[in-house]
Amino acid sequence: MALRGNLRDFTVTQLLNLINLAHKSGTLVIDGSNETAQISFRDGKLAYAQIGQEDNHLAAILHRFKRLSAGQLRAIHLRADHLNDKELGLLLINAGYISQEEILSLLQSYFIDVVRRLFKWVDGAFQFEYNLHPPADRIPIRLDLENLIIEGARQLREWEQLREEIPSLEMGLKFLDRPETSIQKMNLSLEEWRVVSYINPKNTIKQIASVTKLNDMEIRRIIYGLLQAGLVEVVRQGSTPRVEILRSPVTPLFKEKQISLVQRLITRIRSI
């Protein structure tokens, strides 16, 4: 089934969050106003990115990060144009020119840069293609999305949207039990760490804002990032949901009557 919509309604950050939480594999295709971007994922991790017609072959990326000079790039195009990225990478590693780790690190930097550029896109139809994967001759990476999600959330400036995302500051927060995510590995700012240190279902967001001296906008943005990254979830203060009809003082007899009432409703609806 479809995972499609428009960036007006779902930000890139929110889409990364969906992909991360559902461990999706496939390619997110976004039609921006001037160009199209394709971001591929494997098991919810960033694997590959392409924006517009930008050359994202290995040689071009190495040149972009000044690991190949313009002359070397020309030479590769002349003499090794028949090699695909995997073959070229192997050739360069075997020649001792570059290590495998450095290649992966530079590809990672490039793909992250593409995603960062997408954070600025606020309009454009998107669709997640489950059957579209990175070209087989390219070198995929495996990058956790949490840090990118936090980064994307930091760029969210729209006050209205933040208010809609976090309508009330009178709520507590708790850490989600997600063993695959370690907060230690995340690149949090000093302010974000200070907020994290106060996360406890007993503290409201408002109290955390007060103690960390953050204004409504700042605390909302940080909490939004932590929520999007799937690190925390909202807890209603003192919430122990109870059925409305049991709010009045109840005797066991009254409760039995209520249970019987619900059972009668169940029987009736089954028979419709």
Partner: protein, 180 residues
Amino acid sequence: MQTVKMVVTGPFSAGKTQFIRSVSEIDVVATERKISTPDERAIKQATTVAMDFGRITVDNDLVLYLFGTPGQKRFDFMWEILSEGMLGFIVMIDSTRPETFREGRSILETFRAYAPTPYVVAANKQDEPDAWELEDMRNALRLSPNIKLLPCVATQKEAVKNVLLELLYSILLEMDGSEK
């Protein structure tokens, strides 16, 4: 005669009126008006301005009323009135219109604040090709795993019955839990 009430809420054009219509034994008392803005008119011709009202008679002593809330924000003053004394509520979301998910979540939070009664979320129009998968909707709506998100097609009686039953099971569970 005892009456109990359930509320069906959700964003504009989520399928609330149709949901009630599918199981109500009376013609739904729908207070629909012609839509005034062109954007909304493109989606549907008439909308609920006060409430929809359906009835299921259980026996001589008990009647269940289903109330549908108006989906448009400018009629939200009705929500609190309708939520008073409800047994539980259903949040309807159109699975094919992700642009309404944020509003759906906001409506859910509002109703939770009115009354901490059990609720379920119904992902309507799951039979349409553009429908989002339940797992994606759960993540987008930020629903925790313990909240029931049920597939629904409001025009199909069986699907509607299933949503109502799941809500009643949650209410029963809540009552059992409150005994301990």
